[in-house]
Amino acid sequence: MLELYATPVSSRLLLGTARYPSPAILADAIIVSETEILTVSLRREMARGQQGGAFFGMIRDLGRRILPNTAGCHTASEAVLTAKMAREVFGTNWVKLEVIGHQDTLQPDVFALVEAARILCAEGFEVFPYTTDDLVVGEKLLDAGCRVLMPWCAPIGSAMGPQNIPALRSMRAHFPDVPLIVDAGLGRPSHAALVMELGFDAVLLNTAVAGAGDPVQMAGAFARAVEAGRSGYQAGLLEPRDMAVPSTPVIGKAVFS
């Protein structure tokens, strides 16, 4: 079974909670996805404490493990402070560490990411870094104390699906024992199946589900795709060949002429 910071996880789908048409649809999508881990965020409370309270109550009632993020942070110090505030609110050492480096692509600032990861790991956080598919950055994050890596496969919310499959393959090969979660860029169930077939341990989705015509149905579709991809990977995939190979044995075939 997959273990994330010594926590066994049976569902390999992590789900974001943003951008759903309604709280009821979000709740249904969570149930249908069978996810065990939800990402959430922190924002300025403008409604005298009531706005966040309603959302928090709903999430708490669903009984899933919470992975707070540092979305929107652009510096290491901002991300570290946000992580500390999230730990106080959600009572977990887990944090999805995001330090955004580019406004258009939302590409992580990997230098600030490593810096923030080092500080947070030293303070007892269990860091899930949103990173690129760069192997050297991955090494540095592990050196900083991370035990999970979450590479993008395309820009956040783009739904483009895996843009650099060779890089994802080499990441899997280079870090055989590190849980690798594809975070960001998946658009379709087939994208999720593909990265699971590459041997990734899990996927983190948000927009692909929340923005679908029917988010609840899409949550189910992704859940099955993730399972199918994982199962295919475990079963041992056939490598493509250049030539046709008859599937029906030729030996013993009748000769009619």
Partner: protein
């Protein structure tokens, strides 16, 4: 005393961070607070004395990806 609360200018006489939360009618165990870029834990709010021009952030859970 001039304070900046969640980016808004406020003119309030709150001796401590805990007083400020009461004055502004914030309640709930889901709030996180920071003053001048440093976290102030729940248990420390009553002893965190505020000064003129302090920047206060009051955050709460919201949807995220």
């Amino acid at each position: 005393m001039k304070l900046i609360v969640n980016g808004e200018n406020e003119d309030l006489e709150s001796a401590t961070l805990a007083d400020l939360l009461v004055t502004l009618d914030y309640e709930g165990d889901w709030l996180a607070t920071a003053v001048n870029g440093e976290i102030v834990h729940r248990k420390d709010r009553a002893s965190r004395v505020l000064s003129d021009h302090d920047r206060i952030e009051i955050l709460s859970p919201m949807q995220g990806g």
